[in-house]
Symmetry: C2
Subunit: 134 residues, 2 copies
């Protein structure tokens, strides 16, 4: 039986929806971040909800500063993990912990830098203030 009609979307619409270009989506497939996409009868790529979620996830990780290459090794591990659950999962946990640590570090750095900038800002604002009152 034919699958219950999945909502499929074409690359152009998807790109517009995500605010990226079609090139980017094809690029992610090209380097193996996406796995070969299903095609319509005419050969056009089509994406379902899972595919969309995956791309969104990639974009999120990217925004975080994780490189596409790093994502690839993560993806590899997850794929392996699908095959023999027991042995590989601890490794996945390790990787996740490592990334949590990295994220924590980044947050801390950003916060401290934020403070620096705020201080800088108020020093300048004070200067302006004292000037105008003379």
């Amino acid at each position: 039986m034919p699958k219950p009609q999945e909502p499929l979307i074409q690359i152009g619409k998807l790109a517009k929806q995500l605010g990226i270009t079609t090139r980017t989506i094809r690029y992610y497939e090209e380097i193996g971040l996406m796995g070969p996409s299903k095609r319509s009868s005419g050969g056009a790529r089509s994406y379902n909800r899972d595919d969309v979620l995956r791309i969104k996830f990639i974009l999120k990780l990217k925004e975080l500063g994780i490189s596409l290459k790093e994502m690839l090794t993560l993806a590899d591990t997850f794929d392996t993990y699908n095959q023999n659950f027991d042995t590989i999962t601890p490794r996945v946990l390790e990787i996740l912990d490592l990334h949590i640590g990295k994220v924590d570090d980044k947050i801390a750095n950003l916060s401290s830098l934020r403070d620096d900038i705020v201080n800088y800002r108020s020093r300048i604002a004070e200067l302006l203030q004292s000037q105008s009152s003379e």
Copy 2:
């Protein structure tokens, strides 16, 4: 009179101290992030405390994800600001506010992503748990 002996340092030592390469330091000068460096009689670059601070600041901004090009425009604005204080300072405040906003956004995103990862992690850990108890 000769300046009170400033502590000067050569490029190699400085690079090692900062954990970067000499190429990087020369590159920052090359693109105008650093201004032409003073030279020893032999022509070797030498850096004082201010120079070192400046490079450290650059590295900090870089770690934050600000591109060298963005830093250049920031530097431009600050340099202009040194010349006619009154007119340019509001613009500097604007830029700083803008960057504070960006940093806030990044922190928020990272925090939410951190939560995602942590949740993911505990779901996997639970799976492992329930498996081993069967």
